[in-house]
């Protein structure tokens, strides 16, 4: 199947769903309170851009959420990648950290909210901690496994070419681990974005997650729908950014 053709099929599928949504709203098949139509959601979007939601403009909500997620994500990547790489290389270091990582990683981060609030208050710090923790753990685990899955044969080939320990790490293990590392970072940013909603449930006054939760308590389903659409679209764009970087930096991935 040619790729362009498959793309067109995807676009058509999305248009069909939006069309069905449009018709369902137009014919009032579903109570507008439960399912506001696409037109209403667009009108709400215009209104929020002009007037803002709860005294904060829509752009500001988007900006705040993206900034929270990206900041925590970057710190998680900067700390998680080296720690994960080290865990992959040093069995002792791995033995020390692994039980904590394996305990925390599958733990639903929502369960941590009460503790995080007690420890860090209801400000930005606790939101950061939640997003950071979930992203960090994902990145650490995948960086460690990326290093451990470097083929032994490739390491031996490099050793017989005379590399020392630093060179082996820098010129063989690191590039070998890069494809899997990127996959981990990609999963990490997805999880970070997901945790955003949880983080913004902690007394916030701005952000897309907060906007959705706040609007739901006033039955403003149009705002909720808009928020969901924006959260999904931004999540998709973040993923796309990582995949594009991956394709540029790891051009050999999945070939031969």
């Amino acid at each position: 199947m040619p790729r362009l053709y498959l793309r067109l099929v995807s676009v058509a599928a999305v248009l069909v769903v939006i069309g069905a949504w449009f018709i369902a709203a137009k014919l009032q098949l579903v109570d507008p309170l439960f399912l506001p139509g696409p037109i209403e959601v667009m009108t709400t979007a215009e209104q929020l851009i002009d007037e803002g939601y709860r005294q904060v403009s829509l752009w500001m909500h988007i900006l705040v959420s993206v900034a929270r997620a990206l900041f925590a994500f970057f710190i998680a990547a900067i700390t998680g990648i080296p720690i994960g790489l080290l865990m992959g290389r040093s069995p002792i270091f791995n033995a020390v950290l692994d039980p904590f990582v394996q305990f925390l990683r599958p733990l639903p981060k929502l369960a941590l909210i009460p503790l995080v609030v007690v420890w860090f208050g209801i400000g930005e710090v606790s939101k950061f901690v939640l997003i950071y923790l979930s992203t960090f753990l994902t990145i650490v685990v995948s960086a460690a496994s990326a290093v451990m899955s470097v083929p032994e044969g490739r390491i031996r080939a490099a050793q017989s070419l005379g590399v020392n320990r630093q060179q082996l790490f820098r010129h063989v293990i690191l590039p070998s681990a890069l494809p899997e590392l990127f996959t981990g970072v990609r999963v990490g940013i997805g999880i970070g974005w997901t945790t955003l909603i949880a983080a913004e449930m902690i007394a916030a006054s701005s952000g897309l997650g907060w906007m959705v939760i706040n609007a739901s308590s006033y039955l403003r389903t149009d705002v909720v729908m808009l928020g969901i659409l924006l959260l999904g679209t931004i999540g998709y764009l973040l993923d796309l950014a990582i995949v594009t970087t991956q394709r540029l930096m790891v051009h050999w991935m999945g070939k031969g």
């Binding site: 083929p151 044969g153 490739r154 031996r156 080939a157 490099a158 050793q159 017989s160 070419l161 005379g162 590399v163 020392n164 060179q167 010129h171 063989v172 590039p175 890069l178 790891v250 051009h251 050999w252 070939k255 031969g256």
Partner: protein
């Protein structure tokens, strides 16, 4: 092309070498090598021939320095081996190229890691590109090349460091028959100029007879050297002539006799 490929040549000696592994699945010790003693002289091309699982690759891994013997000594130029280094070039069954580097960067990997200046290794690399028939593919990436070409890159990558000893672990085993013959001829052409000492592991009898000065035939578990055959065809060798040589037929019969007994034994061991 009569420019000799410069090289120094090492001698190899294994003295009463044994090697055993703990087999986790069966929870018992497997003896891979038992009391192996062999000597390889300067510039000798030696093949180790034997059924799978006879410990051929273990010998290579010991000489390369990837593994240590359980007992006995592995010596290069009468010095014990401590760790892998670039004086012993290795070519594996898989090309094991670095997929993020293009062909020329793969070939020059060794010199670059050793800190050699580009004006020194660039002309050398160009020569190996020519010798291995890779002209025009310098900027390609490994995944764009066929298996045979990738293996030629692996040969060039090992050869450019001018090792004193070549360790080859069934390097042509994964190639189709035609490509394999071409690669064997190419290897001999280049080797006849460098005369680097070679230890070449294979289970292909014709390959061993075509390439080697001497063939060690190994027994199945525990691995032992059973036979030490001298292959005295004149060099440069030509495949089409030597396969009709009477000595070739006698040698092949001898090898087959020894191998057949060993293979049956190995299969029996597998069944157990």
């Amino acid at each position: 092309m009569d420019d000799a490929v410069p090289a120094t040549q090492a001698t190899v000696a294994l003295r009463n070498v044994s090697k055993s592994f703990v087999d986790r699945k069966r929870g018992r010790e497997t003896i891979a090598l038992s009391d192996v003693t062999l000597e390889i002289g300067k510039s000798e091309f030696v093949c180790i021939l034997g059924p799978s699982g006879c410990g051929k690759s273990t010998i290579l891994n010991l000489v390369a320095g990837f593994e240590k013997p359980s007992s006995g000594a592995v010596l290069i130029d009468n010095r014990p081996i401590t760790a892998p280094d670039r004086s012993r070039g290795m070519v594996f069954q898989q090309p094991l190229l670095f997929p993020w580097l293009n062909i020329i960067d793969n070939i020059t990997f060794g010199p670059r890691m050793a800190g050699a200046p580009p004006q020194q290794y660039a002309p050398q690399a160009e020569r190996y590109v020519q010798l291995m028939g890779l002209t025009g593919f310098e900027k390609h990436y490994p995944y764009e090349l066929s298996g045979g070409m990738q293996q030629r890159v692996a040969l060039a990558r090992a050869w450019i460091s001018e090792p004193e000893l070549f360790l080859m672990d069934e390097p042509f085993g994964a190639l189709d028959a035609q490509t394999r013959l071409m690669m064997q001829e190419l290897l001999l052409r280049v080797w006849e100029r460098s005369r680097t000492t070679v230890l070449f592991v294979t289970h292909d009898i014709d390959e061993a007879l075509f390439l080697a000065d001497r063939i060690f035939i190994m027994t199945a578990r525990p691995g032992r050297i059973k036979e030490n055959l001298v292959v005295d065809f004149e060099r440069p060798r030509n495949y089409e002539t030597i396969i009709f040589d009477e000595r070739y037929i006698t040698l092949k019969q001898r090898v087959l006799q020894v191998i057949r007994g060993e293979t049956l034994l190995a299969m029996k061991l597998e069944v157990e």
